[in-house]
């Protein structure tokens, strides 16, 4: 066991420390005051361009401005964001679902994204490149160290250290877009907006366009499927499962699958529904009573 072995160990520890420290401190926790109220920014944070686009579509749909093929002809209200305006403008030229590829929509998304980077909620390209460089360095260092196994009398611990560097470097290569602060803000948003989770089939009528947009921002295409199945189907949105928005949110799944629907016009009331006291039976004619 020579000095080279110890030198390798020390350098490995330093490289590991730097990589981990940079990973944690790349953006650091967001300032406590950081909170997002804009559904579009929340969508960009949660799901990038598709997330921001879902938020736009849900908000514009809830305002009655768009359908799956484009504009409905309803007058454009004041107070739309630049991205929403870009989506509306794109709807004049293409199907609603395709507006995500419109250059102006992408440009406006970049503005939203840049703001999030400035707030420390998303990592910028330079940061990501630097992080990847550090990860590659660690990975290469580990790989090189592992080659020492070919050298007689190399202690086993050195091989183990090299392996740790390889594995850590490999995982550090995948640089998440969200910073730790961004993830914290997003978790807070999802917690405080649990009522907008698709499992609850939130009423867009009650929560209005901002609630609809926030629901889609935080929970993706699944939110649009839950609130406006026909619209989601016509848009060809990915299913809730495929959208990957199912984890880590309100799981009160037993709560009233049928509750979004009205009691129905035929029956006074029924017992079959799980989410309402007047139930899910709906069909009249049996003379059922009302709860």
């Amino acid at each position: 066991m020579g000095i080279l072995h110890y030198a390798y160990l020390v350098i490995s520890v330093v490289l590991l420390a730097v990589t981990v420290q940079r990973l944690r401190g790349r953006s650091g926790p967001a300032p406590a005051a950081t909170s997002l109220t804009s559904p579009i920014a929340a969508g960009a944070l949660a799901g990038g361009l598709p997330g921001a686009h879902y938020a736009c579509l849900a908000g514009l749909r809830a305002r009655g401005l768009i359908d799956a093929v484009g504009l409905t002809g309803a007058p454009e209200p004041a107070g739309l964001t630049a991205l929403e305006k870009a989506v509306l403008a794109a709807c004049r030229r293409m199907d609603t679902a395709a507006t995500v590829y419109d250059p102006e929509v992408m440009r406006q998304y970049d503005v939203v994204r840049d703001n999030l980077v400035r707030q420390g909620l998303l990592s910028g390209p330079a940061e990501r490149d630097a992080a990847r460089t550090r990860a590659l360095t660690l990975f290469g260092w580990g790989f090189g160290g592992a080659a020492f196994i070919l050298v007689p009398e190399t202690p086993f611990w050195m091989f183990a250290v090299a392996l740790v560097c390889v594995v850590a470097g490999f995982f550090a290569l995948r640089v998440p877009e969200q910073t730790p602060g961004g993830r914290a803000v997003l978790n807070d948003l999802r917690r405080s907006n649990r009522h907008l989770h698709p499992a609850s089939a939130p009423s867009w009528t009650v929560y209005g366009y901002s609630g609809a947009a926030m629901s889609a921002a935080l929970f993706g295409a699944a939110a649009i499927w839950a609130a406006d199945h026909e619209f989601a189907d016509e848009l060809g949105l990915p299913s809730a499962k495929a959208a990957g928005y199912n984890s880590g949110m309100y799981s009160g799944g037993g709560c009233g699958g049928s509750s979004g629907s009205a009691c129905g016009s035929g029956s006074s009331s029924c017992s079959g529904g799980s989410g309402s006291s007047c139930g899910g039976g709906g069909g009249g004619g049996c003379g059922g009573g009302g709860g």
Binding site: G252, S259, S268, C270, G272, G279, C286, G287, G288
Partner: protein
């Protein structure tokens, strides 16, 4: 009136509430003066978390409202269903639980509806037996709600008031009075809704339901999916001061309309507004 107050004070229930439904859970939670709420017991998840748990932890009384016990059924009330209702009461730290005077199954068939119980002596005895069994397993008092029915049974021997009064006296349960059901039954039978209401044992009221409905082919349906008609609101004057819960189960209106409806109910029932609008 004084007896009614005594009942509601003992049950720690008061003010105006709105039925908790997942699609409007955030709206319900955001009502600054929410007196209490009610959740469909059969829809409660195995583990209570999320917005409903938040409400409970805020100290808002939550009443589990059963819809599938089938207390009026000829078969013995299901022990597991009663246990679930009891668990709901414990999870929610509920001051009471409520169910319907109805049956929903028979001979292994699920009706999918709340069906009216024949108002006969025999049916009353069966109902009393099932209610007592349920009470024995519940950690809190039980309130029962007479339903709206589109038909009656030929073997009816008692009026609704007589049937209800005897049921309440023999079991000690409280009354969950749905003024919209009273209105629907009376209107569909060509009777005076207020007369029908005042004939009931109002001194046993735990709380009151109110809901909207719609007329279809000459029959009024208690749909819970429309605004409360003024004629139903007017009935609240007869139970002024009692805790009232607005039921809304679909076709939800914009938040402002729902708030206005809650204010109208509060005003009609002589209760404080819960929307933060003090006008």
């Amino acid at each position: 009136m004084w007896r009614r107050w005594r009942v509601t004070e003992r049950l720690a229930l008061g003010g105006l509430g709105l039925g908790w439904r997942p699609p409007i859970a955030g709206f319900v939670a955001g009502l600054p003066g929410l007196g209490f709420t009610e959740v469909i017991a059969e829809s409660l998840p195995a583990v209570l978390d999320g917005p409903l748990a938040d409400l409970r932890d805020r100290g808002v009384p939550i009443v589990p409202h059963g819809v599938r016990l089938s207390l009026g059924g000829a078969e013995e009330v299901g022990a597991r269903r009663v246990e679930h209702l009891a668990r709901c009461a414990e999870w929610l730290r509920a001051p009471l639980v409520s169910e319907h005077i109805a049956f929903v199954r028979g001979g292994g068939m699920e009706a999918g509806h709340l069906l009216p119980v024949p108002r006969s002596r025999e049916a009353l005895a069966v109902l009393v037996r099932n209610v007592r069994r349920t009470q024995a397993a519940l950690p809190v008092p039980l309130a029962l709600e007479p339903i709206a029915a589109l038909f009656g049974w030929p073997e009816d021997e008692l009026t609704e008031a007589e049937f209800l009064t005897e049921l309440l006296e023999r079991t000690g349960v409280y009354l969950l009075l749905d003024v919209a059901n009273v209105y629907a039954n009376a209107v569909n039978a060509g009777q005076d809704p207020l007369g029908a209401l005042t004939s009931l044992p109002l001194d046993r009221i735990a709380y009151v339901h109110v809901a909207g409905g719609a007329e279809h082919d000459g029959i009024y349906h208690d749909t819970h999916a429309a605004p409360v008609p003024s004629a139903v609101l007017e009935l609240l004057d007869a139970v002024r001061g009692a805790p009232v819960l607005l039921e809304r189960d679909g076709h939800y209106p914009p938040a402002d309309e729902l708030r206005a409806e809650l204010d109208a109910v509060a005003d009609a029932a002589g209760l404080a507004r819960i929307t933060g609008d003090t006008r």
